[in-house]
């Protein structure tokens, strides 16, 4: 397509970057007017954004390797929170003070749920996506929506439309919160961000250092060539789904620990926001998804505070449409193959 260009930049790019600049300038003025409020919102946004980043990574990895928008991913995230709540319900955890049992259960629930979610996502891929790998693109997209509704349906059968309480077992209360320069934050905020940083770093190491990670990158680049080099494509794709779900599983538990409520269609909105984050960062681009997640978390927090929470959805999906229209490659960009 022919695009109008001014000094090496396309008009769409100029539009995109000037919009970004306008947003930054607006936020900077707010920061000058009331720095305390600004930092407070920033902390909320970072905690939210860390969770979005974990979910967005799954979208971007799957899209990078088989160019499928895995609509069921958001529901895998929610399902993890449901299973986590059920596991915590088995033990008599103490929600009022942090005990040794809490610590043990906390240390146990993460790996168990992450593995279970990985297994579920591999099953989903095996049943719903693999048979359709060479079908028209519309087909796996529709089964993905179907899978999303299926998982929502299972959660709906399980607990109905009501919200489900997720046990509040992280250390909280007066001893675990502090105010520095009028900015209030808790242990939970720190926990969420640190956990997300650890997980994303582990993923980065895995993708760049391990043999399987190398196979994933090769498959994402050129599936046929990778196959000719002796890479087992089915195994690599299954591994991608597994890792995506492991991160979403961790995200679900972290969401539960942070907000303490989940509901059956939480994944629809969270998934959509996380997908927006992945597109924002540049779909298929792993650091992009992490960055996009954080930024979308901040956008949500700032929009809630400065524009009004009823407009947040409009703002986020407006960003989604705007990015796709002006800069489909996202912030960090990606080669978009046309097959």
């Amino acid at each position: 397509m022919r695009t109008a260009r001014v000094g090496g930049l396309s008009v769409a790019d100029i539009g995109f970057w000037s919009l970004c600049l306008a947003a930054v300038v607006l936020l900077a003025t707010q920061a000058v007017i009331n720095p305390r409020l600004f930092v407070q919102i920033l902390i909320f946004g970072l905690a939210d954004g860390a969770i979005f980043a974990l979910v967005a990574l799954g979208y971007t990895m799957v899209y990078g390797i088989i160019e499928l928008i895995n609509f069921a991913h958001g529901d895998v995230f929610t399902f993890a929170a449901y299973i986590g709540a059920a596991i915590l319900g088995l033990f008599t955890v103490n929600e009022n003070s942090f005990t040794v049992l809490n610590l043990l259960v906390l240390a146990g629930v993460f790996p168990v749920v992450m593995l279970v979610m990985g297994g579920i996502n591999i099953t989903i891929e095996r049943i719903a996506y693999r048979p359709l790998r060479n079908a028209p693109r519309l087909a796996p997209l529709i089964t993905a929506i179907g899978m999303s509704f299926l998982i929502e349906g299972i959660m709906f059968l399980w607990h109905g439309p009501a919200t489900v309480h997720f046990p509040d077992i992280l250390p909280h209360g007066p001893g675990f919160q502090t105010t520095i320069n009028g900015v209030f934050f808790t242990f939970k905020d720190v926990f969420v961000v640190v956990a997300a940083i650890i997980l994303v770093s582990l993923l980065a190491v895995f993708i760049t250092r391990s043999k399987l990670g190398k196979a994933m990158r090769a498959t994402a680049q050129d599936r046929d060539a990778a196959q000719l080099m002796g890479i087992d494509i089915n195994r690599t794709i299954a591994a991608t789904f597994f890792i995506g779900a492991v991160l979403a599983g961790a995200g679900g538990i972290i969401w539960g620990l942070y907000f303490n409520t989940v509901y059956y269609n939480l994944g629809f909105r969270t998934g959509l926001v996380a997908f927006t984050a992945a597109v924002f960062g540049g779909i298929g681009n792993i650091p992009g998804a992490a960055l996009g997640g954080l930024l979308i978390g901040l956008v949500q927090a700032f929009s809630d505070a400065y524009i009004g929470s009823k407009w947040t959805e409009v703002v986020i999906f407006g960003i989604l449409i705007g990015v796709l229209v002006f800069r489909p490659t996202g912030l960090l960009g990606m080669r978009v193959p046309d097959k």
């Binding site: 719903a128 109905g160 999906f317 796709l324």
Partner: protein, 411 residues
């Protein structure tokens, strides 16, 4: 060497009786549907002595219209639209705002009461215009990006109608919407009158039979329009794009304009349906246009057979029936079944367990999910697949075989 292939093509074409077969089955289905459309209201009035089923059928007709419209986008042109309910909402609100007292309370301070027949077309054009505005910058994107843009749009539109409460009444919805009027109408025993007579200055008010007649006529018009489009140059261009966009572009089809037309025409049908919906319900509220509605219409199109108009109509009716008759009647049936089998204890509520009846009421999402996944895996062409497509595929296979045989003979 070119001539023998041409004769072969003709002979294969004749042998498959392509035209005749298409005409036969689809016309048979249209015939059955038409007879059912006429007999159904009379039979249900006679059997139940209430107009409830007729008003249900009128509502089902709205979904038939929506499915026919979405079929143009998804079935013909192969573009996945996940925010179809947004255009439905735009059509409904266009009518609701300009045919009720709502705008008197808005900053305009003036209530408009424009006639339904005019607003139906206005709604159609407004929805089409929004389709074009949304499609213009996004249709050059890849197919699955389009799905996401429409999904985002489908989330934004109801939210906007909810938030702009100064204009739309927000959560309170727009009520008291005008009903269509006609200079003359026929009344008879089916409408509670004694004799068949002509009524002057007829107001539809909430007469289910009048709405039923209207929706049947609208559906018939839509079917005629869409099947003509399907056979037109534009329809062939859509299918070429659906099969292979790059090849279609190489054949000289302007893909952006063609896709834009599919998008706008598809949207216009839901604008049409929206106006009808607003009038027949008399109430338009933002929560009737959520993502579930878009998915419902998509399920109707997929189940019926993407690209085939008769299939889509049947799919819409089947899904509507499942959602509004089968699932609501299941809880009682399951409960009595459990009692007779001796599992009566399952019927009682117990802690988190809502009882068997409560549990079956929650099946809707699971049913949607299963239908989508199973249909795509087992029968991606739908219940009634597009016959032309089926034949084309078979035709291509036969041709290929013959060429191979020919080459073998020549060699």
């Amino acid at each position: 060497m070119t001539e023998p292939v041409a004769t072969k093509q003709r002979s294969v074409f004749a042998r498959l009786h392509l035209r005749e077969r298409i005409r036969d089955r689809d016309q048979a289905i249209y015939g059955v549907l038409l007879i059912v459309a006429v007999v159904f209201p009379l039979a249900s009035l006679y059997a139940t002595d209430s107009t409830f089923l007729v008003s249900q059928a009128g509502h089902a007709g709205t979904f038939v219209l929506l499915a026919i419209g979405l079929n143009v986008v998804v079935g013909f042109a192969g573009l996945l639209d996940l925010g179809y309910a947004a255009f439905f909402a735009i059509g409904a609100y266009t009518y609701a705002l300009f045919a009720s007292a709502q705008l008197a309370a808005s900053p305009l301070h003036h209530a408009y009461h424009l006639p339904f027949w005019l607003m139906m077309f206005v709604g159609l054009f407004v929805a089409a215009a929004f389709g074009a505005v949304l499609g213009f910058p996004t249709l050059r994107l890849r197919g699955d990006y389009l799905a996401i843009v429409t999904l985002g749009f489908g989330e934004i539109v109801p939210q906007l109608f909810l938030n702009l409460d100064q204009w739309t009444g927000g959560i309170n919805a727009v009520g008291g919407i005008d009903q269509p009027t006609l200079p003359a109408w026929i009344t008879g025993p089916w409408a509670g009158a004694n004799d068949i007579a002509i009524v002057r200055d007829f107001n539809f008010s909430f007469d289910p039979i009048a709405y039923y007649v209207l929706i049947v006529i609208l559906v018939i018009i839509a079917v005629i329009l869409v099947s003509n489009l399907y056979r037109s140059r534009l329809g062939r261009a859509w299918m070429a794009i659906r099969e292979d966009e790059v090849a279609a572009a190489a054949m000289g089809i302007n893909t952006v304009t063609t896709k834009l037309l599919a998008f706008a025409i598809g949207a216009s049908f839901s604008g049409f349906a929206g106006a009808y919906y607003g009038a027949s319900f008399g109430l338009v509220s933002p929560d009737s246009f959520l993502f579930v509605v878009s998915v419902t219409v998509l399920v109707m199109v997929v189940l019926g057979g993407m690209g085939n108009i008769t299939g889509v109509i049947v799919g819409a009716l089947v899904i509507y029936f499942i959602l509004n008759s089968v699932i609501p009647s299941l809880p009682a049936a399951v409960e009595s079944f459990a009692s007779t089998v001796g599992l009566g204890s399952l019927n009682d509520r117990n802690g988190d367990w809502p009882g068997l009846a409560g549990e079956t009421q929650r099946l809707q999402f699971l049913v949607y999910g299963l239908i989508l996944v199973l249909m795509m895996l087992l029968r991606p062409q739908g219940i009634f697949p597009s016959r032309v497509r089926e034949q084309e595929l078979k035709h291509a296979a036969v041709l290929e075989e013959e060429t191979v045989v020919e080459q073998a003979q020549a060699g």
